[in-house]
Amino acid sequence: LSETGRAITDKPDDFLTGLRSDLADQPGCDTDLVTIIAEHILVSSPQNDCVARARRAIGQLAKARATPDA
């Protein structure tokens, strides 16, 4: 492979590390949501129920934000 090719074919772990960082650096991004996505979804070996976990976490976040005084 060319140098470009090798860079493109970074192993998924390396690619995901960079992607998590890039995502968090997005201006105005929801950092709580980034944390949830990074923890449950943006991993090379996700849990079997990672989608359910992320969904639950997002649900809890929505409820917490809906009742800020609670």
Binding site: K11, C29, R55, I58
Partner: protein, 840 residues
């Protein structure tokens, strides 16, 4: 420093698939191998060995792990006689990187664990190096864009990224469902309907306010809430009203009082009879007194009850039908001398006394029953009075006093006349009448409502309002989070898309180069594209061709022929292997051409020869024509050629050199198989040898008859050369061998069986044997007349070939040949000419 690429040094199979005894495939001198065998002879075992060794679970995909459904499981990896022969089932692969050689042994006898020594190879294999012919078409024709994306992402080791995209897509769907979930709203509406007894069917604050005010209006027309809020002044007032209400008898209290009075005394009027514990008690006392009187009378009548047993014993003696007796059974007094004076008089006396005793007994039972009823009625009355007395309104002083007095009197009462109750009855009747009237009046005024009930309903509605507010806010947050999630998912998908598309672009040039090598320079350009960026489903891969200026970016299956589709799939895989597996440039090709035309086979072989110089290719085929093309075009420097001639169950595949020998053909016949293909191949090989050795110029014909390619060209050229050199093959009389005739005329057909009049026909094995003997008869003319060797050369400027042996170099001329005696019906050819000889 970059590590040298890994190649396969050797593969050894033992007890594996068709290979019972150890078979070694050595690639140390020639890294590439073409292996030909008819189907079912064990050629794919070599590919299976490689797949098994590299697999995660120690099996091959088409077998699976367990024997279930259509899969045979791991068991099928082992040769069925391996255990009987005490042989293991294992594959040994030696890998070479630079000067280092390491061996990996994988067996099915243990846990089939993948050897760690294969780790280096696996790490460098981004694309699966095994290409199965049967799977190629699937990629182009039947795979969905989603499946194709998954597969290509697998080649490119992007499966985790594909998984991420799938998970993200699923998460977005689920969060969207949460954001749009109608269930919480439905729950609230159901709750509203329950609170308002169906007056409201869904939450609406204005309607809830109206409902609350309607409750309050029934209690007090002045009470109106201006807003449905706990801070509304009317709501504060409602608190106070509830507290006051608790201090007075409301409708509930009146109803309770009414029930309590009715339990003690209800005055009869009209059809209504007197009821209640008090009259019941008094009635039971009266009944008991009557029973006492009756019992006393009967007791007197039965005063002589002491004789009851005597009468009972004597009665049978004096009853009708009993044996006649003359004397008293007790004192032996003659019956006429007794006070009664006769037997009949004694019987009557006994009957009357016994009747008096029965009446007394009944009266006694009646007295006991009434006594029990009185006791029960007494207890019931006291209990009901105890309930009633605290409920009596404090304003009803007379009633309270009367009830207390009566209660005090009745408590110690044991027997005799009940306490006087007339006054109490009068007062209770009046109070009951007043309570009933009051209840009617309240119900007419405010229904079944009270401030407490109204407040409870309003509180429940206020609670519902809070829940609805929380629901709206939560749903709003869900919507915001969904929007943010969509943004983040788009960002992630976009990054993955860039990565995937870049990898796909790397594939485009080599894929098209290889494809053009097979299909020609004007072959339609191919590309693998992701869907447009705005497409939410990015996990798809579109395989497109630019078929014509008016048909750009179209699906191949609608425009390409079968062989073109096959070529496309093959070149795509080979390009991927060549591009991404540079650390281990290995391609294992299993039956990659099947049932296509000769041109396709030849150009595929040509593509492999011209465009895969850095790949180590291990190729198996059951197509002898393709095998032949490979041999012609790939040369001998890097390639080895093997042919499986037969499969011995108790040994394994048997190999031959790559040339078709007489033995191979005879082996086919021994197995009862047609050898037409082998014969044709042998003839072609022989023709090619002759043309090469005789220095024949070959003119490629116009493509007016596709099937007349190859062998006919060789035959035509050889015939032309022989004519020009004055070397005429001897005439063979009596033989109608079209091969010989056509060779002489330069016209050799090129279809399936040239022994048949029609193309693709099958001759009998007997025909084949006869024809083969004829061919051999003809072939054997081409021997050195001096040393009988069969290799020639024709250095320029010689017109005729000479023996290739350096010590001979005799000029070639056709020799006379004597056929074997066992070749019936053939002609005998001698040094001096040809003469007919029937040997049949």
């Amino acid at each position: 420093m970059r590590e040298p690429p890994i190649s396969i040094h050797s593969i050894t199979l033992v007890g594996f698939r068709a290979y019972l005894h150890e078979a070694l495939f050595d690639f140390s001198e020639k890294p590439c191998l073409a292996l030909f065998a008819p189907n079912g002879k064990g050629k794919s075992g070599l590919v299976d060995a490689f797949e098994f060794s590299l697999s995660e679970n120690g099996t091959i995909e088409r077998l699976g792990i367990r024997a279930t459904h259509n899969q045979a499981g791991v068991t099928a990896l082992a040769h069925d006689l391996a255990a009987d022969h005490g042989l293991p089932t294992e594959v040994r692969i030696k890998l070479k990187s630079g000067k280092t050689v390491c061996e990996a042994i994988r067996s099915i006898s243990d846990d089939r664990a993948r050897p760690a020594s294969l780790g280096g190879l696996l790490a460098r294999l981004m694309v699966d190096p095994i290409v199965r012919g049967y799977a190629l078409r699937k990629f182009v024709e039947s795979q969905t864009p989603e499946d194709r994306y998954t597969e290509v992402a697998g080649w490119l080791q992007l499966s985790p990224l594909v998984e991420i995209q799938k998970n993200l897509r699923l998460l977005r769907q689920q969060v969207k469902a949460d954001a749009e979930d109608a269930q919480p709203k439905a729950d609230i509406n159901r709750q509203v309907a329950q609170i308002t007894a169906g007056a409201l069917t869904e939450w609406n604050e204005v309607a809830a306010l109206d409902f609350a005010n309607s409750l309050l209006r029934s209690l007090d027309a002045q009470l109106v809430m201006a807003s449905f809020d706990r801070n509304d002044p009317t709501y504060v007032t409602l608190f106070e009203r509830v507290a006051a209400e608790e201090q007075q008898i409301g409708i509930a209290g009146l109803k309770q009082l009414k029930v309590a009075i009715e339990a003690v005394f209800v005055e009869g009027s009209g059809e209504r009879v007197v009821e209640g514990a008090l009259p019941a008690f008094e009635q039971s006392v009266a009944d008991k007194q009557a029973a006492q009187t009756l019992e006393a009378a009967e007791r007197s009548a039965a005063a002589n009850a002491v004789f009851a047993q005597v009468w009972a014993a004597a009665e049978p003696l004096f009853s009708e039908g009993a044996p006649s007796i003359d004397n008293c059974p007790v004192c032996a007094t003659p019956l006429p001398n007794t006070a009664a004076g006769s037997r009949e008089a004694i019987a009557e006396h006994i009957r009357s006394h016994r009747a008096a005793l029965a009446a007394y007994s009944a009266a006694k039972d009646g007295l006991d029953k009434t006594a029990r009823k009185v006791a029960m009625a007494h207890r019931t009355l006291q209990a009901n009075l105890a309930v009633l007395r605290p409920l009596l309104p404090s304003s009803e002083t007379a009633c309270i006093v009367a009830a207390a007095a009566y209660g005090d009197s009745i408590a110690p009462w044991l027997d005799g006349t009940p306490p006087e109750s007339a006054e109490l009855k009068r007062l209770l009747a009046a109070l009951l009448s007043a309570a009933v009237a009051q209840i009617a009046e309240i119900e007419a005024r405010q229904g079944d409502n009270t401030y407490a009930k109204a407040k409870a309903k309003i509180d429940a509605l206020l609670e519902t309002k809070d829940q609805e507010s929380l629901r709206i806010q939560t749903q709003d947050q869900f919507a915001r989070l969904l929007s943010a999630l969509n943004d983040q998912a788009t960002f992630i998908s976009s990054a993955i898309r860039v990565k995937v598309q870049a990898l796909l672009d790397l594939l485009r040039e080599p894929t098209n180069r290889l494809y053009r090598a097979i299909q020609g320079a004007d072959a339609a350009p191919i590309r693998l594209d992701l869907p447009p960026e705005e497409d939410l489903n990015q996990q798809r891969l579109l395989l497109l061709i630019d078929f014509s200026p008016g048909r750009r970016g179209v699906a191949p299956s609608g425009y390409l022929s079968d062989s073109e589709i096959h070529s496309l799939a093959l070149t795509l895989r080979l390009a991927a292997i060549a591009t991404f597996n540079s650390g281990a440039p290995i391609a294992i090709l299993d039956d990659i051409v099947t049932s296509y035309d000769a041109d396709h086979r030849r150009t595929t072989a040509g593509m492999i020869a011209a465009h895969t110089p850095n790949l180590q290719i291990i190729l198996t085929t059951h197509d002898q024509r393709f095998f032949s093309y490979l041999k012609d075009q790939l040369g001998d420097s890097r390639w080895a050629y093997l042919q499986i001639t037969r499969l011995d169950r108790d040994y394994g595949p048997r190999f031959a050199g790559h040339r078709i020998s007489d033995k191979i053909i005879e082996a086919q016949w021994r197995d009862g198989q047609s050898a037409a293909n082998e014969m044709r191949q042998a003839e072609e090989e022989w023709l090619l040898d002759r043309c090469r050795q005789f220095g024949v110029d070959i003119r490629i014909r116009e493509l007016d008859r596709a099937y007349s390619y190859e062998r006919s060209e060789l035959a035509s050229a050889l015939a032309a050369y022989l004519n020009s050199a004055g070397l005429s093959p001897p005439a063979v009389r009596g033989v109608t061998n079209r091969f010989l005739a056509s060779l002489q005329k330069g016209e050799i057909e090129n279809f399936g069986s040239h022994f048949q009049d029609g193309p693709y026909g099958d001759g009998s094995i007997g025909d084949e044997k006869a024809r083969w003997e004829e061919f051999k008869f003809f072939r054997d003319h081409f021997v050195c007349p001096a040393c009988k060797r069969t290799k020639f050369k024709r250095p320029l400027p010689l017109k005729k070939p000479v023996c290739a042996h350096p010590t001979c170099e005799a000029q070639f001329r056709f020799a006379a040949v004597v056929p074997a005696a066992s070749a019936p019906g053939l002609l005998k050819v001698t040094e001096t000419g040809i003469k007919s000889e029937s040997v049949s």
